[in-house]
């Protein structure tokens, strides 16, 4: 029972970070219908940013999120403006390869700057935990879970209540119609990519105190982000949140009750089952 609840809780907490990565990807996909293969690499850049702010300026990772979010937003917006906007109408395989190429450039540039060494960010609380009914809960993960929840709530408010948020949603629903309604679709795409990137970067920042950093770390998370977004329904923020937590728990439970080796297979099988039986995702609306 203890093993069960312990793995449930750790799965939930990690799932929170996964959710952030997934939400970022789902916004980008929702608005642009582009699968961003550089998503994990963008997250990696967020991690390096956090790491350098911590080691060079001594800013605590959870505080530096306030700096990471705007910088990563600008970075994403720039990527969109310079590269992605040019291929919005291109063949889907070209869009995918463009993001793969951008990812390669990001990870290898970081490698040239920071070498391929593993960087570890150690804070005073990196391995602290507290106990709740005999279950140990990682302190940094708990903090990042709270921050994630806050950001998700904020995003919800943004998409539901603000004009820009509604314009982005309109663009996601029907690009052409949105254009006809006078929405600046290109600008919305830039904002969407910026948002997606800043969320990926934030996820990177939040995971930094309990994880490690190296230039090639992105691809693991890119794949995970795909699974999460499809699971939740591409374009659905609530779905991605749920998907992230689901994957976190599935991995955690899979490791205990199946085996650590097969747990990733569990995740991919789950992914295929959803694709086949409910391709719109658990919470997505059916595609036209």
């Amino acid at each position: 029972m203890l093993v069960f609840s312990q793995s449930l809780i750790s799965g939930l907490l990690i799932g929170g970070v996964y959710a952030l990565i997934g939400i970022g990807l789902t916004i980008i996909f929702g608005v642009m219908r582009i699968i961003n293969f550089a998503h994990g690499d963008i997250m990696m850049i967020g991690m390096y940013l956090t790491y350098n702010l911590f080691t060079l300026a001594g800013i605590d990772p959870f505080v530096s999120v306030a700096i990471t979010i705007p910088i990563m937003f600008l970075f994403g917006a720039l990527l969109q403006k310079v590269f992605i906007n040019r291929v919005l109408n291109a063949l889907p395989q070209n869009q995918i390869l463009l993001t793969i190429g951008l990812g390669l450039i990001m990870s290898n540039t970081m490698m040239l700057i920071f070498t391929s060494d593993y960087q570890i960010l150690t804070t005073s609380y990196s391995s602290s935990s507290f106990r709740l009914f005999h279950i140990s809960i990682s302190q940094p993960l708990a903090i990042s879970f709270v921050i994630t929840a806050g950001i998700t709530a904020l995003l919800y408010w943004f998409f539901m209540k603000t004009d820009t948020g509604q314009a982005i949603r309109a663009t996601a629903q029907d690009r052409d119609a949105a254009q006809l309604m006078g929405i600046n679709v290109k600008r919305m795409s830039i904002i969407a990519f910026g948002l997606g990137s800043s969320l990926a970067g934030t996820a990177g920042a939040l995971i930094s105190p309990t994880y490690y950093i190296f230039p090639q770390i992105g691809s693991t998370f890119t794949l995970k982000a795909f699974v999460i977004t499809v699971l939740g329904g591409m374009g659905s923020i609530l779905g991605a949140t749920l998907g992230g937590i689901l994957i976190g728990v599935a991995e955690s439970m899979g490791a205990v009750y199946i085996s650590s080796g097969w747990k990733d297979v569990v995740v991919f099988v789950l992914f295929l089952l959803v694709l086949v039986f409910k391709p719109s995702g658990l919470l997505g609306k059916s595609r036209a």
Partner: protein, 361 residues
Amino acid sequence: MAINTKENKAAGGSFITTGTVLSLLALLALASVPSVVSSPYTLHLMILLFLSTIMGQSWNLIGGYTGQYSVGHAAYFGAGAYTTMILLQHFQIAPWYGALAGMGVALVVGLVVGSICFRLRGPYFVLASIAVAEILRLSAMNLKEITNGAEGILATDLPPFSIGGTVITDFSTKVPFYYIGLGLVVLTVVVTVAVQHSKLGYYFQAIREDQDAAHSLGINLSLYKNLALGLSAVLTSLAGSFYAIYVGFVDPPTVLGLDISVQIVLICIIGGIGTIYGPVVGSLVLVPLSEGLRSNLIASAIFETGIVSESSPVGNFLKENLAHAHALIYGILVVVVILFMPDGVLGFAKKLVSKRKGGRA
């Protein structure tokens, strides 16, 4: 003009076009390379070039002609490689039979993939194809009794190849591998040409252009998509088997990893998708470029031309970083090709030529 070439091509054989003549000449030249060139390094690079062409050409059938962008072709490559190696190591079955068995396994995997993924379109298909390849990779990692898990399978020496008692080759040099590779290139090209000049080719392309329209014109979508995938899977598995016997070692990341899948797609996109010469051109760009950067040949070439002196700070920088940066340059190349040559290098070259001729379409 356009009609003429079309007519000639379609007549398939009754007309001998300059293209066929040139291809035959090129083949002849390639076949005579081992008797002229004795440098194993050169032969090795040629073999890598062949391998890349086979992989690209095989993917082209499903990705280029049929428009189903599989980013999971490592599954078939790995199926061929693993089947060949497992049969060779556990049961001492000669690799040529192993390759046949590998084709069977790849076909089965392909049909499973088809039954799952062909219900899906666009990005969903891409993701599903990745997922299947990843499941295969993780399974190879975990099924230790069969695949030896992460440790991989190391081949002992190959049995000599003999026909009726006479030993044709004992695989002690690169030459037999060279000819096997060349043979497989010819095979994939011939299959592609045959497909292109048959009902299959027309149907594949119709599906690529517009699935609904194709469906309404009497094309059984799932039948023809599965045919294309099956054909592509079988040929890709041959590339995998060839890789396995040539390198003599397989493990999950090197033959089933996501980067193999991506590399296969890149060969076609960089060369030019949906054309016979595309994968050849793509390989001609990628293989020498990555080898040149990797081994610093490009840096030393720059020094030899005297543009930059080796001892100068710039020279030193190049020497130190060019090899490190080869993956970076690869990435830049991909971005440049996608942004400025969306039809690949081949398409770009064609456009340039037609522009020079005065804009004839």
